[in-house]
Each structure stands twice: as structure tokens, then as C-alpha cells.
Amino acid sequence: MAEVRARLGTGCAHCGLAVPPERRAIGSAPAFCCGGCETAHGILRAGGLAQYYALGERRAAPVRPTGRSYDEFDHAAFEELYVSRRADGLATAELYLEGVHCASCVWLVERVPLLEAGIARAELDVRRSLLRVEWDPRAVPLSRIAQVLDRLGYPPHPFHGVAREAMRRREDRAALVRIGVAGALAGNVMLIAFALYAGDLQGMAPGERQMFRWVSLVLTLPALLFPGRVFFTGAWAALRTRALHMDLPIALALAAASVRGALNTITDSGPVYFDGVTLLVFLLLVGRYLQQRGQRAATDAAELLLSLTPRMARVRQDDGALRDVPTEALLPGMLVEVGAGQVFPADGTVVHGQSSVNRALLTGESVPVAVVPGDVVAAGSENVGAPLRVRVDAAGSASRLARLLAEVEANARRRAPVVALANRLAGVFVALVLLLAAVTFLLWVGRDTALAWDHAIALLIVTCPCALALATPLAVSVAVGRAARAGIYIKGGDALELLARPGIMVLDKTGTVTAGRHDLVAWDGDPRWRPVILALEEGAAHPVAEGFRRAWPDLAPASLEGVRHDVLGGVSGRWDGREVAIGSPAFVASHGAEITGWRERLAGAAVTPVLLAIDGQVVAVAGFGDPVRDGARDALDALRARGWQTHLLSGDDTAVVTAVADALGFAAHQVIARATPEEKLARIRALRAGAGVRAVVMVGDGVNDAAAMTAAHVGVGVHGGAEASLLVADVHLTAPGLAPLQRLVEGATRTLGLIRRNMLWAVGYNAVGVALAMSGRLSPLVAAILMPVSSLTVVLGSWLGRSFVAAPVATTAASPATRHRRAA
């Protein structure tokens, strides 16, 4: 987007965004990128605020490549879309912040209220880089808040998942460029450093030595000025808000070491530190990138859901003309045209046309539903038949889809305590490092000022949290990558950590521990009736019909006449001149058949009976049930052996649920039948409340489980689940059965072990480094060896450690790929 705007040069007269060709103005009239901007411009002009566009400050403000001026945050159109007013006069809005990369950012951002009067509260969700801000609009405009955030190094954006996609991509590319440049420079500086250290040991011509030192200075400067700049801006922002940010000691170490190194180069004396500095920049950027990516992946769910709704809608105006507007600008009452194959942009009522609608996204029900004028359609569902005209009932955050997202978001925010802890730890770490450096300096300054500087700088370099910053994200991202290859998609590192310790595993029955189908599990009757049954059920979309077809895939149906589908749940027809009827006992009885004795023929199994009657005589009985998935018992027993508590939750009938629970070894008090989605949610919340430190994991497949899955510590979506439930799940298993669940838990346990080992190494190296530096034994050579070796240990440990092993079967690889494709 930014590139496009930059290329066009001129933009919307209001917001500076690119003006689409069809909206280009003729002559000198102002052009606008969208209806929203045009409206805002009109309001400003009408209100006598046109000088707003001439304000020098607006243009001189630090303009990001996005070209956005934050003044647009104050316009009526913006407020309409993103700001909500509370009863007490305060306004709240959600802003997406670029550049949020670690726990200490939360600390910093959440102190914005101290910088600007009128801001009541700022709450950052670091996993989603999402800031929720509450302010008094009479005291301070939102743009002012946005400017403060920008000055801190977190350019804000109104939160809208789809728009974020492009922004995030740009951010990722910038991060990769920084890492690549830093890595190349660090590699070259280190090569030169090898020569210099060898020269120190064996002797070297002074001229060559000086040239090598100058060359590494020349290579270090760009590494500091371009990729390393992020640490200085971060530290500067932290200083201005008087916060202890992780960037502070890093920037201090980088600045002190390079200034000292440059001085030593010019005066041709003492150590130069350049290898340490460049390597530091590189490793820290890598650690930060990995951590950010891990957090990002976890937040994709809502954006993906939202990105399934279209961005543009075709509005029919009062004069009958059609106009394309962004979905954000849709208001209740507008008429929109939705073509065949398009997705509904908002919730609405059909006013013209007949079609069928696929609601799979919301309900998991993949059979299209017919709609006629007067029917209600939901945003995110797909119009499969013919064009429809729809009157918008609810758009944007009021749509059913958006409310589903709000639930997911609210649940994500509740997971904050972990972040708070990391936050405090970072603060303690920073304070400790600065204190130790000061102590070292004071210890040595009495003897020799130059030595004191050297030792303090050495300490700052050696304690820079490279290995520490790499330890967790690296182990997690390697594990997540391996898990993906094993058919397990994990969206966040915290899910892995929670799954590593035994907790409470709650499983949905239908579709999770069972196959979620109607399968023919019992049959009593002559095989010669089978073609008749297939003929009766031919073409029917009913689950029972599909069950018969699955059971006898190779049989050809008999030829029938006068096939009639009855609303009572059965089919009748004539075969060979005889009356045949198939269906529920009630239906068959209504066709005059004598239906006693069928129960015995099914041997009392908990199944749905289907009877076939010919000329009023029941000739065959079929039982339909939902078979337990293969290997479910083994997987559950393995989990129980690891100390997991297993629970079964189902909306199904008590008799059916009890049968499955008995077969799978669930204790009676751990089984709940006939649970509505709300009861499932309540059950999860109750378990969470009583779980203490143990994690509650919800395993499910349907939209009826989605709320429960987000309410649990970890939500696991199983193979074949509804799209919406898979998107809200923290973990998505793409192989059928429960064996992947067992592999997931085992892999998570091993990953946590890896993280612990990594941390131990990193802390150990830091401790050794501090001891050496404070006692003055840390020569630049030792520091130069210690730092990369500690990071290398962590990298190798993460790579070589066993976390996830590939699944033995890969028969269902198609499902994740198609999902990715839809998300792309």
C-alpha cells in the first residue's frame, strides 16, 4: 500500500491515501480515496476548520512511510467506526501498534496516561499488539494520544484485522532486511576480528593492523546506524518516559563500546569491540524477530476470521446507481448487491432475489441453505446461487462475526498474567545489569580510569541478553516448525508451555473422540435388500443416506418408481411392484408396518434405528451410530498415564455419551451430557477456577465448542472441525484421531525441557561473564568468544534437541494447505 501511494505521489485530499482511478477528480477539485475521507473533508469545511489542511505542523509531523497523519483519528468517520463512548463521558478505542516487540513495551505503552493529561487508561495486548485506550475526549483528542505513541516508537493504527495484514507484512520485511544487513556486517567484522586477534598473538604489521581496525569501524557504523537504530530509538523513548526498558542497557552497551572503539581506533590504542557490537545487534534482532513472530502467529485467528469478510461492498444508492464502498463505511439500512460466489459484507435481510447460502464459516454446517426475500444472512457466509440484494442490518463491529471475534479477543486478553511476570523480570534484569556495570566502574576507577571504562563496557557487552533472548523463542519456533511438519499447527509458544505440564483435558464427544458421522454400525437383514435401500436413499443429502452409501460403496442401486421423500424422516417408493419404505420406526409404522421386535435385532446397542419395510413387513433393521475414533482409548490412556485429568463434554443424549465414556474409560463424574455451548463455556470456566496452576485444555471441533476453546487456557481443534473453531484454536491437529493429541503433549513436554536447558546455559554464561568482567579478567578476546559461543549453544541446543517427531501418516495434508490458501 505504501509503495503504491509513494508511486502516485498525490493522494486523497484528506488522509493522503492513494486515490483509486475511478475516484480521481477532474481539474483542481480535491480527490478522495474513499467516501469516509470525502465526508470528513466536507464536515471540516462546513465547520470552518479548513485551515486544518494548511497546518504546517501536520505536514512537519514525523511522517511514516504509511503517509498517515494522525489527525484523521479525530474525524467523525473514524470515530463512527472505531471509537465507542461510555456512559461516564470517556471514550474507548482500540489501536494497533507497530513495533510492539516485548513485554517491556507493555510497561512503556501502559504508562502513556502519565505523559498526557486526559488519558484514563491504556492497556496493551502484546500478543496482538493491540492497545485499548480510554480517554476523556473533552480533555485530549485521540490524535494527540496517537502522536504520543508515535513519539515513543509505536505508530498506532485503528484496529482492523484486514488492514493489518499489509502492515504486518511490511514490518516483517523491514525486520528481515535489518537482520540480513546486521548479519552480513557482523560476519565481515568478525572475519577481520579473527585476523586482529591472531595478530595480537603472533604479531602483525602496524599498518595492516590499523587498516583492519579502520575497516571494521567502517563496517560497524552502518550496522549501528541502520539495523541497530531500533535499540537507540527504543532506549530514547524509554528514557523520556523514565521506564526501565530492555533496550536501555543494550543501547548503552552499543554506544559505549563503539564510541570507545572508535576513539581507540583513531588513537591507535586499546581494544576496539567492533566484533562484539555488530554480533550483538545481529543476535538481538534475530531473537526479537523470532519472539515477535511467535506472538504474531498466536494472534492470527481473529484477523483470519475477519479477513474472510470482503473489504468492499457494492452499494445501491437511492437513485439506483451502484457504488463500491469499503465495508467499514457500511451503515444499517443501506442496500448492497451480493453476486453469486461472493461473501456477504455485513449482516442483513434479503430484499430481492433467491439463492442459497453457505454458512460453513459460522455454523460448520456445510450444506447450503436456501434464502428468499425476508431471510436473514450473516457476514462471512457465502452466496452460492444467484445475485441477491440485501438490506444491511448490522455492519462492522455489530455483525455476528465481529461479536464472535470480540469473544475471542476478550479471552485472549485474560491471558495477560504471564506477560506481567516477564515484564517484571525484564525490569529487574535491566536494573541489575546497570547496577553491576556501575559497581564495576566504581571498583576500578580508583586504580585506572581507562581500565574502569574497559571493564564496565566488557560487562555491558557480555551481559547483553543475546542467549537469554534467544533461549525461549528459538526453542519454541523450532518446535512449532517441527510440529507443523508433523501435522500439528501451533499458534503460540505459550500454548506449548501450558501443554508441557499435566493439566485438565476436556474433550468434546461428537467429532472429537468420535468420528462425527452417522455410520452403519449394526445391520440385521438379508444382503439382497441393500440395493433397494441404496435406491431409496439415492441423491439424498441426509446423513443416514450418506452413511448407507459409505457402508456399501460398491453396490449398484436397484431401480425404483415413485420415490417420495417424506417430511416425517423417511423415503418410500415401489420396487418390483411392492411397496417399500425406509426410515425411523415411527415413519415405517405410519406406512402400516408391524414394528415390534426391532429393538432385539439391534442387540440393545445405543444407536439410531432405521427400518426397511416391504409390503408392511419389516425385513431389515439398520443401526446408525457415531463410531469412536481409532486409537482414542490408547491416546487417552497415554495422557492419563502422564498425569492428565480427562473430561468428556457433549451435547448428545446421556445414553450415547455414557456408552462412549465407558468405552474410553472416563470416570462418571468427569462426564457431562446434554451440554449446550453456554454450559460448555461455563464448565470450562468452572474448571479453570478450580484448576490452580494446572492448565485447562479444551479439545473440540465445532462452533459450539469455539467459545469454550477460547475460554480454556489452550484450545485444540481436531481434524475435520468447523472453520471457525479451527481459527480460534491455539493448536490445530490435521491428522485424524486422538494420537496427534498425545504427540502434541509429548512434544510440548520435550520443548519445555529444551527451553529450561537453554535458559540454564544462557544464565550460566552471563554469570561467568559478569564474574570475569568485575574481576577485570574479561579481555576483549574472551568476551568475543564467550558471547557467540553462548548464543551458539542455545541455537544448537534448540536445533538438535528432540521436540516433535513427524507423524507416521500424512494422508490429510490437503486440509492445512487449503486452509492456508484461503487465508492468503
Binding site: 520485511r173 544487513v181 552480513a184 567502517v218 490458501r821
Partner: protein, 57 residues
């Protein structure tokens, strides 16, 4: 070893070229998605849908 005075600056030029190439490839989005293409190549192309169209979407 006076050849070093020629070789080192030359090496720096090569480094600059390599960095330039990398920056170009990163900025043109070649590292945007490292997982999906690996899976995508295992499946048949869908008719009427090309890579570039998807990227624009």
C-alpha cells in the same frame, strides 16, 4: 602483504552487492511466507488462480 590493501576494499564491494541483493529480495516479499509455498507445490494448481493474483489479494 600489501595486496591486502586492494583485496579488502574489493571484498567490501562484494559484501555491499550481496547485501543489496538480499535487501531487494526481502523487500520484494520473497521471504514473506516460507511455509505455504512448500506445501502448495505438493498440490495441483487450481484453475484460474495464479500466484500473483493471490499475492495481490
Amino acid at each position: 602483504m600489501s595486496v591486502l590493501y586492494l583485496v579488502i576494499p574489493l571484498a567490501l564491494v562484494v559484501v555491499a552487492l550481496a547485501i543489496g541483493a538480499y535487501v531487494w529480495s526481502a523487500r520484494s516479499g520473497q521471504f514473506d511466507d516460507l511455509d505455504t509455498p512448500a506445501m502448495r507445490m505438493l498440490h495441483d494448481d487450481e484453475a484460474g488462480e495464479t500466484r500473483s493474483e493471490k499475492r495481490e489479494a
